[in-house]
Amino acid sequence: MAKAIVYLNQFFGQIGGEEVADHEPEIRNEKVGAAMLYDQLLDGEVTHTIICGDNFMGSNEEQAVDRILGFLKDKEFDIFFAGPAFQAGRYGIACGAIGKAVKEEFDVSVISSMNEENPGVKMYKKDIYIFPGGKSAAKMRDDVTKMVEFGNKILSGEKLLPAEQEGFFKRGIRHQYFLEDETPAYERAIDMLLKKINGEDFVSELPIPEIDTVEIADPIKDLSKATIALVTSGGIVPIDNPDKIQSASATRWGKYYIADVDKLKNRREESFKTIHAGYDPKAADADPNRVVPVDAMRKYEQEGKIGSLYEYFYSTVGTGTSQDEAARMGKEITQELIENNIQAVIETST
């Protein structure tokens, strides 16, 4: 039988109201409060209830999450429910924070419910399933019912429908989908075009998402003392591609020693080449410095413009590589660079 664990705050965990919002996380081997309702509706059993004060989670999130993950380590469970949090902001954020952590640590589905006004929706809808819920606890049964019906569907292995049909907030996760009515793209395109011409409403199949912004790094004060690294998504690797970096949809990266190199030698000299499948490799194979400008960096090093060029360059392949993978690889490379006291990076892309 499927096993579920439910997360509640101090109020719904029947500890009390605002005065006990500092309540430390605990896990109980029983169904407390709404956990009873979950248990009634679930095709399975709620085995434990986790209770944590909203303020405790709010002001010690890392500690709270760690402790709760610790509670769960030796528990078997197939699904995790958090909330519903209605319009309670701190509770919503707590449900999101713990839900995200549980999903990442244990790879189980996590389902929550919040009112659309709850700030937890915006913060965590990408990370866990959040269903739109009522404003107050009067909607407890309705909200939990929606959550559990969806949970039952996941547990049964039934194929999940798009977000708009299942009802949870869109998570920014897009998959291809065969239309039931088989309307071909040419009909959809003409329909959209005529509506646009006539000033009628239409729905784009690819709504433009918000553009990411990144905090701007401070400028380097003294370049002549800085060690600078080269990083590329252009797929330049030693001729035998020792790290087996994929030619497209890469999940791996490599670092290659260049401390003794004035300029990168090419494919014919059996040194470096590109394994990137998204562009014509001829020019990069003939002179890899066109993609990873080791030669120019050495010149600036000799001239004293920069302190030094870092002894490794880092490489992966950009084509078809998902943003998540790229971000992960970027973080891993950054970690190494920081550990080695690198002040700046020139990233070349193709």
């Binding site: 990411d212 701007i216 380097i220 004060k221 562009y279 400008p293 600036y300």
Partner: protein, 65 residues
Amino acid sequence: MANLIPIAKTVGANRMVPTISIPYPLGDPSTSEEEQWKLRYHRVGVALNALTTDINEQTVFDVEV
């Protein structure tokens, strides 16, 4: 350093220096070795200067060669 500045902008790069193409960002094989070197040396230099420049929004740095 990227040729497709709109992509660099979209993914949130802050200091950007344009390169000349996708398959050969820093050296057009149809030009002489000298010209290629000049271009590469110049643009890498622009990138290095960009690292020392204080900016408050996404910035594309001008290149001359």
